[in-house]
């Protein structure tokens, strides 16, 4: 065996999460009316474009989740293979040059020289202060001043051309599959895609993919020769750090949400629905929890965890396992402290809904409380849950940054957007300023959170039966619009009177 597979705690949870999503997909596929709702997500151009970006991030995150320990070259005398103490992921292997090409200290994006002057010993023994050449960035250039720009441009263009080629192959494959499925000729399908008349907005997806593949193509052509996003204080590639941070962000975003959701949903709806002493207890619970400064609570919990880890070193065979357990614990403690906001929101909504007449009608039928909660209240608060969790996603990633700053965030050995931002914070005060670390973290986080937001918007829009048909009918039955306008107007009126 060349490697020893390692499954960390968060890996296991991610696999579990992926399995659950796949089971959910299978369930939806077997139920036509659910499938019809979800298919409408596929009809939203912005939703599908953001899904493409999101899937790209998810792919990186998943690649980074498959962990293993590579075999070391020297073996034991008794034939046992020794495995490295470093836990690597598939992503690490794929971007090996990024991981290993470490410079001495800061260098700007695509630079050939270090960012700061240092004393260099010349071959003749003299010393001079100047910008030293990088060990890897542009090392192949003989005369960086003259060749630098041209080299970058040619390499980038060549890479982009590869990207374009792959995109073209995908386009052809897609068109062929579609024409086979719809019993159309290749050309017909092709024109339909470009005239944007397909049900699924393939045009938007293809355009997003084109941008992605051009970017990925040119960047991957450059990474062996340059540091595309520069290097940090210890000379580590910033692009590598950004890629590694994606998994941590996704883990914190999803696992925390998964831990927090049952609390928020169950307690919030119960409080609003049952009222009485249940409401009082839940309210006191979350008011108390809310009034404890959450940083304090998290710091205490994380420090306890840290002490435990340090006193039981025998449990962890690698540093990665330690860092991972700390990350998991961070997710749990963040989840426990952050359910209060959504819980309060859901309590209010459930209080409004329980007075609605369809719930009263369900009571008149003697429908059980559990069924009323799951069939009547839960679906009608899902839009709030969806929006709140996506909004939380970004704030959780930021919370991680804040906690890392206080020193109670992820393990210092783990790369995350939080640690990146923290490190960059000091560099911002430098003259000349080191801006690239912060900018990279910013761009990656922006892309991730924005695409998650847009996708959640599309999902919410498609799953709400009211907005859904409005849109659908606009296209299909233009004549009925007026009637709908009238009903939607009354709907709004009814809503506004209800909210009173």
């Amino acid at each position: 065996m060349f490697f020893d597979p390692v499954i960390l705690w968060t890996d296991a949870l991610i696999y579990l999460f992926v399995t659950m999503v796949l089971i959910g997909v299978g369930y939806v596929r077997r139920h036509p009316h659910l499938l019809a709702s979800w298919e409408r997500v596929g009809h939203s151009a912005s939703g599908m474009a953001s899904l493409t970006v999101l899937l790209f991030f998810l792919l990186i995150g998943l690649l980074d989740t498959v962990h293993f320990r590579p075999a070391l070259e020297q073996t034991h005398s008794n034939g046992e293979i020794n495995y490295s103490a470093d836990v690597l992921s598939v992503l690490d292997v794929l971007v090996t040059p990024l991981r290993l090409q470490v410079e001495k200290t800061y260098s700007a994006p695509l630079a050939t020289h270090l960012y700061a002057k240092e004393t260099i010993e010349l071959p003749d023994g003299q010393q001079t202060r100047s910008f030293a050449r990088l060990l890897y960035g542009g090392a192949h250039l003989k005369n960086p001043e003259t060749e630098h720009t041209a080299d970058i441009v040619t390499r980038a263009i060549r890479g982009a051309a590869y990207g374009l080629a792959i995109w073209c192959i995908f386009l052809v494959a897609l068109t062929t599959t579609l024409s086979y499925r719809n019993q159309l000729s290749f050309k017909q399908t092709f024109t339909r895609i470009w005239q944007r008349t397909t049900e699924i907005p393939w045009y938007a997806i293809l355009m997003t993919l084109l941008i992605l593949s051009l970017l990925v193509g040119s960047v991957s052509a450059l990474i062996g020769y340059y540091h595309v996003l520069g290097t940090d204080k210890v000379g580590q590639d910033v692009l590598y750090q950004s890629l590694k941070s994606i998994r941590v962000a996704l883990v914190i975003g999803t696992l925390t949400t998964l831990i927090m959701l049952p609390f928020a949903l169950l307690l919030g709806i119960m409080a609003g629905y049952f009222r009485g002493w249940i409401d009082d207890v839940i309210q006191y619970l979350y008011t108390t929890l809310n009034s404890i400064p959450s940083v304090l609570l998290i710091a205490a919990a994380v420090l306890m965890m840290q002490v435990y880890i340090e006193t039981h070193p025998e449990i962890f065979d690698t540093t990665a396992a330690r860092a991972d357990l700390r990350l998991l614990f961070l997710c749990i403690i963040l989840g426990i402290t952050s359910w209060t906001g959504l819980c309060r929101l859901l309590r209010g909504e459930a209080m409004k809904l329980r007075e609605l007449e369809y719930i009263q009608a369900a009571h008149a039928f003697g429908v059980s409380h559990w069924r009323i909660i799951t069939r009547h209240i839960l679906p009608n608060v899902m839009h709030l849950v969806l929006i709140a969790t996506v909004m939380d996603f970004s704030s959780l990633v930021l919370a991680e940054a804040v906690l890392s700053y206080v020193g109670v965030g992820v393990d210092p050995s783990m790369i995350s957007f939080g640690t990146m931002i923290n490190a960059a914070r000091l560099e911002m005060a430098r003259e000349p300023m080191v801006w690239w670390a912060l900018l990279s973290a910013f761009i990656f986080m922006l892309a991730l959170v924005l695409s998650a937001n847009l996708f959640a918007d599309a999902v919410q829009h498609a799953l709400d039966p009211r907005t859904r048909t409005l849109k659908q009918r606009h296209v299909k039955h233009r004549s009925e619009k007026n009637h709908l306008l009238a009903t939607s107007k009354i709907d709004n009126q009814a809503k506004s009177t209800n909210s009173l």
Binding site: A361, K481, A494
Partner: protein
């Protein structure tokens, strides 16, 4: 007389979709000073859009395409927006339907009126204060000087609408647009507000454009009537002409679909179909598809105005003298629709014991205050109500909003636990049952709600909505095919096609939703149906459909109804017995004829006289009640009604009157009659 307001060929479109919707399509009207012009029509006909077009307050998607709106010679549509601001509130004012939503809750009444005054009149602060007091006194707000500094939540519904009117009058407008000004109010309050509007109009010679769907309000208020249908006026006449002889088939149908006493044993006329989409271009009469007297011509040519009498014109081919007509336009329209088939009424098996017997039911809600939520008082929503319903009969529970009607309905179904008293259903005491015992007999009594928009879960398909009750109560054997058949049968019974079960509630109109709600209640074969104002949110023609449906259900299935309503016309049409409620207690009950012909209690008399009548059959004195319903948290001592009663006596303040019987069925609680019996 020179017209004050002249609207000429007004066209307003809404750009909400791919094709513009012609919300107002070539509307022309004239209003003289001191005159009330009533714009009458069902919802979705463009009435409110007309009002907003005049004010130039259309939503962003709206656009006035062409036309003139002249007020005393100024064409409003040609004014710049800046000049419009000096017109709004000064020369034209508007009152909206919902007084709760049109006042700002964080500003006092005085501040809100002062805003208008500062905008339009140059007055000193003291003058503004004086003017506010004057205005509030004018609209009949007692103790105006003190109350002007109160916030809207301290005002009752009727008072808020008065404050709205005071605000609208602040700039002394020439034209007042009243958009359904009394729809959200109770009849007694409605009578007060309508009275007030009439007085003010008389004093100020103000023109009023009254937008309403209520024929009764039109009959009381208007001098001129315009019937609006699908964006245009189809009939325009003076009030007397219109009510004596409506000419357009649509107007005639509207009258025919009104529930009335003398239509009791027949189904109401129904206008089939819905208002057509206004996005299309019409090639014929807009009403053709729903018209009972449609001719082939109607589909081909757009009808022009035809003068049938001086000042009475109709947009209908029937009155075109140049066209040879086969039908005589003057014949009364068909009063019976297709489901008016006269069938032998299935007599429910009359037993001695009533189906439902409520004795001395009380529902009190505690008022809690302070840190430890101590109970400091009770809202006596229902305070000792007794009533009974026999199988297959309808008992109407009448009263103003806030008197506890709905609470009774819900506590009979045990949706709200009663504080004390008994609810006996078929010899079973419901209040004594626990949740699982109650569950077993829940199928026998069900409820229909007022608002068809909030009574169906928007995220469930019709099929699931209908099957929920069947599943929960296991009324049938549980095989899936049987369940589906049952669902289909239910939909057919309430007159909906079977395919709709795959759709979501928001795809249906209000009337259709109400049918679904009825089907849902019927799914478990109830014997008693509590109908909580099932038609008050619906248009007249749709109301007729629902009433027909309820009536035929009673005839065929022998279901008893507890019909909670404030609509007296519906009561006359549908009820067998009537109970009149005031502040948590029943003040009078009896057979429908007894109550309607010889009301005994002063409140019943006032309530009946406040109902706007289309035809003033009886020249009766309208009893105007002063003030509002007192709070049920602190009911007046003695007879609850005495502060508003025109015939109050000293004894009324001291104790609550006992029951007086006039016949086996007719009883009332009033000292007027106990004295009679004494003497």
């Amino acid at each position: 007389m020179n017209a004050l307001v002249e609207i000429n060929q007004l066209r307003t479109v809404l750009h909400t979709g791919a094709e513009p919707i012609r919300a107002v399509d070539g509307l022309s009207l004239k209003i003289n000073p001191g005159e009330t012009f009533a714009l009458l029509g069902e919802s979705g006909c463009g009435k409110s859009m007309t009002a907003l077009s005049i004010m130039r307050l259309l939503p962003d998607a709206g656009e006035i395409v062409s036309g003139h709106v002249d007020i005393n010679g100024t064409d409003l549509l040609r004014l710049p927006e800046l000049a419009m601001r000096t017109i709004r509130g000064k020369r034209i004012s508007m009152i909206f339907q919902e007084p709760m939503l049109s006042l700002n809750p964080v500003m006092t009444i005085a501040e809100q009126i002062a805003e208008v005054l500062k905008q339009h009149l140059q007055l000193s602060d003291q003058a503004i204060q004086n003017r506010i007091v004057e205005l509030l006194e004018q609209v009949g707000i007692p103790d105006a000087e003190r109350r002007m500094h109160e916030y809207p939540f301290q005002f009752s519904g009727g008072m808020k609408q008065r404050a709205m009117i005071a605000m609208a009058l602040a700039g002394e407008p020439e034209l007042l647009i009243a958009d359904e000004p009394t729809t959200a109010l109770d009849v007694t309050i409605q009578a007060q507000v309508l009275d007030l509007l009439r007085q003010l109009q008389h004093r100020k010679q103000m023109a009023i454009l009254l937008i309403t769907h209520d024929l009764g309000v039109v009959a009381e208020m208007a001098q001129q009537v315009g019937v609006m249908y699908a964006g245009e006026i189809v009939e325009s006449a003076a009030r007397e002409d219109f009510f004596n002889q409506p000419r357009h088939p649509y107007s005639q149908q509207l009258f025919a679909s009104l529930p009335e006493k003398n239509k009791r044993n027949q189904a109401l006329a129904v206008i089939h179909g819905t208002v057509p989409s206004l996005a299309q271009t019409f090639t014929g009469c807009r009403f053709a598809n729903r018209c009972p007297k449609v001719m082939s011509l109607c589909h081909q040519t757009i009808p022009q105005w035809h003068l049938v009498k001086e000042n009475h014109q109709v947009r209908c081919h029937l009155y075109d003298d140049s066209i040879q007509r086969t039908a005589n336009a003057e014949t009364a329209i068909v009063t019976h629709s297709d489901n008016a088939e006269k069938e032998q009424k299935i007599l429910p098996n009359v037993t001695d014991s009533p189906l439902l017997q409520v004795t001395d039911l009380q529902v009190h809600f505690p008022i809690r205050k302070g840190l430890f939520k101590r109970t400091v008082g009770h809202v006596r929503a229902v305070d000792g109500v007794s009533l009974q319903i026999s199988a297959g009969k309808t008992l109407a529970l009448v009263g103003e909003s806030g008197c506890g009607k709905t609470t009774i309905g819900k506590s009979i179904l045990q949706l709200i636990p009663p504080t004390s008293g008994g609810v006996r259903f078929k010899n079973q005491e419901l209040t004594k049952l626990n949740r699982s015992q109650l569950h077993k007999i829940r199928a026998q009594f069900q409820i229909i709600f007022q608002d068809p928009y909030s009574s169906l879960n928007p995220r469930m398909r019709i099929r699931e909505i209908l099957q929920e009750g069947m599943n929960a109560l296991r009324v049938n054997d549980q095989s899936d095919t049987h369940l589906e058949q049952e669902t289909d049968a239910l939909l057919q019974r309430v007159g909906l096609p079977v395919e709709v079960k795959w759709r979501f509630p928001h795809e249906f109109s209000g009337g259709q939703r109400q049918r679904i709600a009825i089907a849902r209640a019927l799914a478990v074969n109830p014997e008693l149906l509590v109908c909580d104002e099932p038609t008050s949110a619906l248009d007249v023609s749709v109301q007729a459909q629902i009433l027909n449906l309820l009536k035929s259900l009673q005839d065929h299935l022998g279901i008893a109804f507890l019909f909670i309503t404030h609509n007296i016309a519906v009561v006359e049409y549908l009820a067998d017995e009537v109970a009149v409620m005031y502040l948590g207690r029943i003040v009078e009950r009896g057979l429908v004829d007894e109550i309607m012909e010889t009301p005994k209690h002063p409140y019943t008399q006032a309530l009946l006289s406040s109902v706007p009548r289309i035809k003033p059959e009886r020249e009766q004195h309208i009893i105007r009640l002063q003030g509002d319903l007192p709070s049920p948290a602190a009911p007046p001592s003695g007879c609850h009604f005495h502060p508003r009663c025109p015939k109050a006596m000293p004894i009324c303040r001291e104790s609550y009157p006992t029951s007086n019987a006039f016949s086996n069925t007719h009883t009332t609680h009033c000292f007027l009659y106990s004295q009679e019996s004494l003497s």
